[in-house]
Symmetry: none
Subunit: 231 residues, 2 copies
């Protein structure tokens, strides 16, 4: 079962990618460092990294750092969501909310179960920052909201959820933002329920109550959807 050194290394690197030890967007150690720490030549490292790139798992730029790619990205280039045409479509916005409801519910669930203490601490800090800042533009509020949810997703230790969340939030930001705009228009102001819901999610995760976290996160999104349906 002995194979090439470079194949060994390739396998090893893939392992890191599939288990989530190397998250999408994370930087790989440089070829020279790998070469030194693994006691193989840089040529061998290059061979392995080259394969990884060819298979679409990492992105390597001359002079820049090599970083892990999102596993789902190559398969997510559909005509969907490109542009705000879809972002303004109420039916599409509704669907985005429904997916968010399940996605963020699951993310919160696994985060409550698996987040490291450091991640919980960072999440707590972000939450408090979010609670303080008040007078901001709608756009900033939306971004802040997304950052909070993205942090939860990243703490889930669930490669697929992390990958999908990344793609989803970036691709469909327009639709998500559009929902907020429309809510403000219909409702007159930022719905007062949001604050309490964020608090509930935060609290459930901090107490590592997975089920509560899931339903709180899910409810948070469905609450927004109900606001939208009043039209």
């Amino acid at each position: 079962m002995k194979q090439n050194l470079s194949d060994d290394l390739l396998q090893q690197l893939k392992e890191c990618l599939f288990t989530g030890a190397l998250l999408p967007g994370a930087e790989l150690t440089s070829q020279r460092r790998m070469s030194a720490s693994l006691k193989v030549s840089r040529a061998t490292v290059r061979e392995a990294v080259g394969q990884l790139e060819a298979e679409g798992y990492v992105e390597v730029r001359h002079g820049g750092k090599t970083r892990a790619k999102n596993l789902l990205e190559p398969h997510f280039n559909m005509s969907l969501g490109e542009g705000k045409a879809l972002g303004d479509n109420p039916e599409f916005q509704r669907q985005v909310l429904e997916v968010r409801a399940m996605l963020e519910g699951e993310a919160a669930f696994y985060t409550a179960q698996r987040a490291t203490d450091d991640q919980l601490k960072a999440l707590d800090a972000e939450y408090r920052k979010m609670q303080q800042r008040q007078q901001e533009t709608t756009l900033e509020k939306a971004k802040e909201d997304l950052r909070f949810h993205m942090m939860i997703a990243e703490s889930s230790h669930h490669l697929l959820i992390i990958s999908f969340s990344q793609l989803f939030y970036t691709r469909f930001f327009n639709a998500i933002y559009g929902v907020l705009i429309r809510t403000l228009k219909t409702n007159g102001r930022y719905p007062e329920g949001i604050r309490a819901q964020h608090s509930a999610i935060h609290q459930a995760i901090m107490q590592r109550d997975a089920e509560a976290a899931r339903s709180a996160a899910s409810e948070h999104i469905l609450y927004t959807r109900r606001h939208l349906e009043k039209d």
Copy 2:
């Protein structure tokens, strides 16, 4: 439009393969000769040849000559072999199951709510067909199972769920299939719970009971996951 030297060479070699200048079984010139005749270093040649091998176009044996493979071969591997490392990874398999649990739960939920009568009829027909056929290979059972779930997803009238399901099932079929194989190995036979669970999903959707459909579909997947964790 200038790219890497090795990429240039890779492209060039592919040309030879696709135009038939290099027929299946033919020997490639050695890396040293290429390096000399093209005035590039052997490292560059190796990079290109390595890619070719990774893509399945040539076969290279230590000490022996490198020869062109049958062009159709990579496409056959595509159906099953793409990313074998990924499909065999237990941790990844578990994550795939978890995503399936939420994805298929939601799909069943919306299908129960929104499927047209025609879609329900087609689903019913597929279900009955599935119940009849018994003696089949594991592979065929897996495909059948996936077809059933894909039909549910397609009946959900939910663009995002449909799109994601399609990508997910085709892309990660290996991991899904790997789960089945592993279950069979651990368990000795096809778990008897599956049949009843399919029935429960089918029944809930037919009665348009969305909540029941969701939990039945979700439970179906989680049941499989539990089987896997017995190791």
